[in-house]
C-alpha cells in the first residue's frame, strides 16, 4: 500500500480510490489498513489494459483492411468475447462468428443489426463504420 498514486498507470483517471486490505506482521497480529495500491498491483492491472488496448487496435486495423466486419472491432472495444456477445445480442455463437465476415455482414437484415447495436449500446449507423 502506497501513500499516493505513482506513475505505473498510463491513464490519469486510474488509481484514485483508496481500498481496505489486511496484512500480517511477525508478532501474530492482523491489521486492517486503508490506502492506495502498491506498485506490484498496479503493474498487473496495467498489463490487462495494455492487452485489451492491443487487441482493440489490432481489430481496428483488420476492419480497415477489410478482413473482418466491424462487429469484431466493437466486440473488442466492449471487452467481451464471442460467448458473452452471443448472450448480449441473443444470437447463437456460431452465427456471431459467421457475421465476422465482411461479405456476410454487408448482407445482414436491419433486425439483426439492431440486435448487435443494442448489445453495444450504439446506433446502427455507428455499427456500420469504425471511427
Amino acid at each position: 500500500m502506497d501513500e499516493k498514486p505513482n506513475p505505473v498507470y498510463k491513464d490519469e483517471r486510474y488509481g484514485q480510490s483508496r481500498e481496505l486490505s489486511y496484512s500480517y506482521d511477525k508478532t501474530g497480529n492482523y491489521e486492517k489498513t486503508v490506502g492506495f495500491h502498491g506498485e506490484p498491483d498496479r503493474v498487473i492491472i496495467q498489463q490487462a489494459w495494455d492487452h485489451f488496448n492491443e487487441r482493440i487496435t489490432e481489430a481496428k486495423e483488420k476492419v480497415l483492411a477489410g478482413k473482418v466486419s466491424p462487429i469484431a472491432y466493437y466486440m473488442e472495444k466492449n471487452l467481451v468475447d464471442t460467448l458473452s456477445l452471443s448472450m448480449l445480442a441473443g444470437i447463437s455463437i456460431w452465427r456471431v462468428k459467421w457475421h465476422f465476415r465482411p461479405r456476410v455482414f454487408n448482407r445482414l437484415k436491419t433486425k439483426t443489426l439492431e440486435k448487435y447495436a443494442s448489445a453495444f449500446n450504439i446506433t446502427v449507423e455507428e455499427l456500420k463504420k469504425v471511427e
Binding site: 491513464d11 486510474y14 481496505l20 486503508v34 498491483d41 503493474v43 498487473i44 498489463q47 458473452s84
Partner: protein
C-alpha cells in the same frame, strides 16, 4: 422516497462486507473475517478450460452467493433470495422490498457500474453491493470497495443487474428478514472450518481443486513459456495474480482474512492451537504476497523474465506444502 439508515463500512471483500453490513443493520454485530470463515469462503481451483479475459480462470473463493447462503443457514437467520427473468419486474420487486424497510444485497457486473474506479471496469460478474434507498430514478448504494456512499440511476442499475457472460447475475437479490436473539457461534465455526479443510485437502481424485490444484497450476506454469511464448505466458501469469490480489480479495487470495478468522475463532472457542495455526497462516499469506511481488516483476518486463517460471512454480509448491500441513490439522477440529 426511501432512505434507510444504513451504516457503511469498507471491507476487503465485497460479499463478506455486504453480508456483515446487512446483518449489522439488523443489530447483529459480526466481523468480516468471521463471515468469511463460517461461510467457508476459502477455496482454490484452477480451471484451464474456462477462459476469462482470454486467459484460464484461477479462483480463490467459492461460487458467488455461497458465503451468504452458508452463513445464514449455519446461524439460523431467515433470508429471501430471488432471481428474475424480467428486468422490469426485478426492479419493481426491489422497490417493494425497500419500501418494507429492508436494505437489499445485489449481485452485479462491474463493466457498466458508473461509480466504480475506471481501472476495475472489466467484465466481472461476481461483485456484490447493497441498495439502501431510492428517490424516483436514483438509487442509493453502499459499495464496500468505495470509501463513501454512492448513487446510481435506474437504467444503469438495471443494466449491471442483467450483465451477461460467465456467472451472469440474472438480477439476483438477497436480504435477511429475521435474526434470532441468541446465536451460538461455536458449532457454526467448527462446521465452517471443517468444510474449508475438506475443500482444500479432502477432495479425492479431482486434481484441479484445493492443494492439488495449486500443485497442478505450478506444474503447468513451468511449461507455459515453451508452450505459449513469452508474451502470452506473462499474460497468463498476470491473470493468476489479478485473481489473487485484485478482485476484492483483501490481499494474498483471502489468506490474510482467513488467518484473522482463525485468530478470532481461537478466542471464541478457547482453543490455543488455532492461534498457532493463525500464525502459520499469516506466514503462508506473506509467502503468497511474495509470490505476487516476484510475479509482477516478471509481468513488468513483458516476457523478458528476470524471475523465471521455474522459480515462481517452486514458490507455489512451497505454499501448497504449507497449506496442506495447516488444513490437515484443521480437519481434525472438534
Amino acid at each position: 422516497m426511501i432512505k434507510l439508515e444504513f451504516e457503511h463500512r469498507q471491507a476487503g471483500h465485497c460479499e463478506n462486507g455486504v453480508t456483515s453490513n446487512l446483518l449489522n443493520y439488523h443489530q447483529y454485530k459480526i466481523s468480516e473475517p468471521m463471515v468469511f470463515g463460517i461461510g467457508a469462503g476459502l477455496f482454490f481451483s484452477y480451471l484451464p478450460f474456462m477462459k476469462m479475459q482470454h486467459a484460464p480462470t484461477t479462483t480463490f473463493r467459492v461460487w458467488p452467493g455461497m458465503i451468504f447462503d452458508r452463513l445464514t443457514k449455519e446461524l439460523g437467520i431467515q433470508t429471501v433470495i430471488l432471481k428474475f427473468r424480467d428486468p422490469r419486474e426485478s426492479m419493481t420487486k426491489l422497490n417493494e422490498v425497500l419500501d418494507q424497510g429492508y436494505p437489499v444485497g445485489l449481485q452485479v457486473g462491474t463493466y457498466n457500474l458508473t461509480f466504480f474506479p475506471p481501472e476495475y471496469r472489466m467484465h466481472y460478474n461476481m461483485h456484490n453491493m447493497v441498495v439502501y434507498g431510492y428517490d424516483h430514478e436514483t438509487y442509493f448504494v453502499s459499495d464496500t470497495l468505495m470509501e463513501k456512499l454512492v448513487e446510481i440511476s435506474y437504467e444503469d442499475l438495471m443494466r449491471v443487474r442483467y450483465a451477461k457472460g460467465t456467472f451472469a447475475p440474472m438480477g439476483r437479490m438477497y436480504y435477511p428478514t429475521y435474526v434470532p436473539k441468541e446465536i451460538n457461534l461455536k458449532p457454526a465455526i467448527i462446521n465452517g472450518i471443517y468444510k474449508t479443510a475438506n475443500n482444500m485437502v479432502g477432495v479425492p481424485f479431482f486434481p484441479l481443486i484445493g492443494v492439488k490444484g495449486i500443485r497442478y497450476l505450478a506444474r503447468q506454469m513451468r511449461k507455459w513459456e515453451k508452450k505459449l511464448g513469452p508474451e502470452k505466458a506473462s499474460y497468463y501469469l498476470g491473470q493468476v495474480l489479478r485473481m489473487e490480489e485484485e478482485v476484492g480479495t483483501a490481499g494474498a487470495g483471502f489468506r490474510f482474512i482467513y488467518g484473522a478468522f482463525l485468530d478470532e475463532a481461537s478466542r471464541v472457542l478457547n482453543q490455543e492451537w488455532l492461534k498457532e495455526l493463525s500464525i502459520e497462516m499469516g506466514e503462508n499469506a506473506n509467502k503468497w504476497r511474495e509470490f505476487s511481488y516476484y510475479g509482477s516483476r516478471n509481468c513488468k518486463k513483458r516476457g523478458k523474465a528476470d524471475q523465471s517460471y521455474d522459480f515462481l512454480a517452486d514458490m507455489l509448491m512451497d505454499c501448497a506444502d504449507r497449506e496442506e500441513k495447516i488444513f490437515k490439522k484443521l480437519a481434525k477440529i472438534k
